[in-house]
C-alpha cells in the first residue's frame, strides 16, 4: 500500500475536503495541489488561497477493474465492482485526478460535466481517509 501517514494526510485536508486552490499572484494561474513555485510561470512563490468550485469536465479517464486497483482500493473494487478514475479539468483551470463516484462506469464520457463531493477514499491505520471525488453534475 502506498503509505500516507496520518500527519501527511492531515496537511492535505484543505485540498481534499474543500478544494482550496492557490492562485499565483504573478500570472494568475491556479495551482492545485499547492506548489512551492508556480508551475505555470515558474516565476513566483506568492499565492492567494481560493475556493475552487469543484465543477469541471472529464479530460480523460480509465476504468479500474479486478486486479487493477491499488491495494488500498482493492476492497472497493471487490465490493462495488469496476470504478472510473479521471483527470478532470476544473473551471478554474487546473487538471485534477480523482475517482468518479455515483455513476455507472459505462456512462462516463470525455467532456462529461462533473462536480465534487466528500467521499471515503480509503481506510488506513484505522483512520478513514475522506476526500473529494467527482460525481456527474446536475444529478
Amino acid at each position: 500500500m502506498a503509505h500516507v501517514s496520518v500527519p501527511m494526510y492531515w496537511r492535505t485536508i484543505p485540498q481534499r475536503y474543500k478544494l482550496v486552490g492557490y492562485k499565483c499572484k504573478k500570472c494568475g494561474s491556479v495551482n492545485f495541489p499547492p506548489k512551492g513555485v508556480c508551475k505555470y510561470c515558474n516565476a513566483s512563490s506568492e499565492f492567494e488561497e481560493i475556493h475552487l468550485s469543484g465543477r469541471g469536465k472529464v479530460h480523460t479517464f480509465v476504468l479500474i477493474s479486478a486486479g487493477g486497483a491499488p491495494p488500498e482500493f482493492a476492497d472497493q473494487e471487490k465490493a462495488g465492482g469496476q470504478y472510473p478514475v479521471a483527470i478532470v479539468q476544473l473551471e478554474e483551470g487546473p487538471k485534477v485526478i480523482g475517482q468518479i463516484a455515483d455513476a455507472d462506469p459505462k456512462e462516463v464520457k470525455i467532456d462529461m460535466p462533473v462536480t465534487t463531493e466528500l467521499r471515503r477514499i480509503y481506510t488506513e491505520e484505522g483512520v478513514i481517509r475522506y476526500g473529494f471525488k467527482f460525481v456527474p453534475a446536475g444529478k
Binding site: I13, Y17, K18, H51, D75, Q76, K78, A79, G80, Q99, A101, D102, D104, E117, L118, R119, R120, I121, I128, Y130, K133, K139
Partner: protein
C-alpha cells in the same frame, strides 16, 4: 420572535434493493409495507451524506456556511464509536470552527434531538443560524429480521428567525425507561433486537402518543387541523399504528411515508420524511412530526408552512434516481455476512 426552517435539503443514495430480492434469498421479507430500500455505496457513510445535505440545505436558503453559528449532526451509525463527528462535516462544508457543535448518536430519535438543539440555539440567539444534518444507514446482522428494513438517507435543515419556509409552532418531548428493543451493547457495532414484538410496540405507542398528544394539547389543536403528519418509520406500518391512536388518517400520513420506497432511515427517518412533506406542502398548511427512539423517547414538533420556497433538489428527484442491486451485491456493500 418566530423561528423555524429557512432551508432544507435531502439526499437519497442511488442504489436500491427490492423486497423480492430478500424474498428470493430468505423465503420472506419482514419489513411491513416496505417495497424497496436505499443503500449507500462503498465510499459513502453518514458523514459524506451529512456533508452533501448540509450543502443542499444552505443552497436552498440561499446562504453561505460562514453564517452558521450552530451545527448539529444526528445518526445511529457513526463511522467511529469515539471521535467527534461534527468536525468532518464542518470543515468540508466550510462552517466556522467557532460554531457550537454537537453529535447526537444514541437512538433513532437523534434527528429531532438535533433539530431541537438547533431551535433552542436560534431561540436564544436571535441573529444565530443553525445547520442540522441527520444521516443514517443503520447496520444489523443479516441473520436478524430487523435488518430487512434498514435503508439509508439524509436530510439537513437551516434553522433561524429569518426568511422562513416553515415556522416552528411548538414542541413536546417524552422520555421513559424501556429495554430489549433495538440496542447496541457496548462491544457491538450491529443493532440488536430481542424480538419481543408486543413489548416493543407498547414502548413505541406509549412514547409517541404521549409526545404527540401533549403537543396537540399545548397548541389547542385537533388532529384534523394537520395537513401532513410525519411519524418515525422502523417500517411502513408504524405510522398508521401510531397515527390511528392520535386520530390521524392515512391521507395525512401519505406525503411523509418515505419508508415504502427507502426502508428504515433510523435517525434520518423523520428528517427525510419532513423534507418530503415540505416539498408538497402549501402555504398555510400545518405539519406534525413525531420521532421515536428505543430505550425510549419521542419528540413531537409542529410547523406551519409560511412560504412556497422549496428545496433546490426535491425529495422526489433523488427518490426517482436509482440503480437496482441484487442481494449478493447488497451484502458485499454492507459487509453484512456476519
Amino acid at each position: 420572535m418566530a423561528i423555524g426552517i429557512s432551508g432544507y435539503g435531502v439526499y437519497i443514495p442511488r442504489l436500491r434493493i427490492k423486497k423480492d430480492d430478500y424474498a428470493k434469498a430468505w423465503g420472506s421479507f419482514s419489513a411491513a409495507g416496505v417495497g424497496e430500500k436505499s443503500v449507500m455505496g462503498f465510499d459513502e457513510d453518514v458523514l459524506t451524506a451529512a456533508a452533501k445535505v448540509s450543502r443542499r440545505a444552505l443552497e436552498s436558503v440561499p446562504t453561505t456556511p460562514d453564517k452558521i453559528t450552530r451545527f448539529a449532526i444526528a445518526s445511529t451509525t457513526p463511522p467511529y464509536v469515539e471521535k467527534l463527528l461534527s468536525g468532518t462535516v464542518m470543515v468540508s462544508v466550510g462552517i466556522p470552527n467557532q460554531a457550537l457543535s454537537s453529535d447526537h448518536i444514541t437512538s433513532t430519535r437523534a434527528g429531532t434531538e438535533a433539530m431541537l438543539a438547533g431551535f433552542e440555539h436560534v431561540a436564544s440567539n436571535p441573529k444565530g443560524m443553525a445547520l442540522v444534518a441527520a444521516a443514517d444507514s443503520p447496520l444489523a446482522s443479516m441473520w436478524d429480521s430487523l435488518e430487512h428494513a434498514l435503508g439509508a438517507g439524509a436530510a439537513a435543515f437551516v434553522l433561524s428567525g429569518d426568511n422562513l419556509i416553515a415556522e416552528l409552532e411548538g414542541y413536546s418531548s417524552y422520555a421513559s425507561e424501556y429495554f430489549g428493543e433495538r440496542f447496541k451493547p457496548r462491544s457491538e457495532t450491529l443493532v440488536h433486537d430481542l424480538n419481543v414484538k408486543k413489548f416493543s410496540e407498547s414502548s413505541l405507542i406509549k412514547n409517541t402518543t404521549s409526545a404527540g398528544s401533549a403537543l396537540l394539547k399545548k397548541l389547542s389543536r385537533k388532529p384534523e387541523e394537520y395537513n401532513h403528519v410525519v411519524i418515525q418509520q422502523p417500517d411502513a406500518r408504524v405510522p398508521a399504528t401510531v397515527g390511528s391512536r392520535l386520530q390521524f388518517t392515512d391521507l395525512q400520513l401519505a406525503a411523509g411515508l418515505t419508508s415504502k420506497i427507502l426502508g428504515d432511515l433510523g435517525a434520518a427517518s423523520t428528517p427525510v420524511s419532513l423534507a418530503a412533506a415540505l416539498d408538497v406542502a402549501k402555504v398555510g398548511e400545518k405539519i406534525m412530526v413525531i420521532s421515536y427512539g428505543s430505550g425510549a423517547g419521542s419528540d413531537a414538533l409542529s410547523f406551519k408552512v409560511v412560504s412556497d420556497r422549496k428545496a433546490t433538489v426535491k425529495f422526489q428527484t433523488d427518490a426517482d434516481r436509482k440503480e437496482y442491486i441484487d442481494y449478493i451485491k447488497y451484502l458485499k456493500l454492507k459487509g453484512a455476512i456476519l
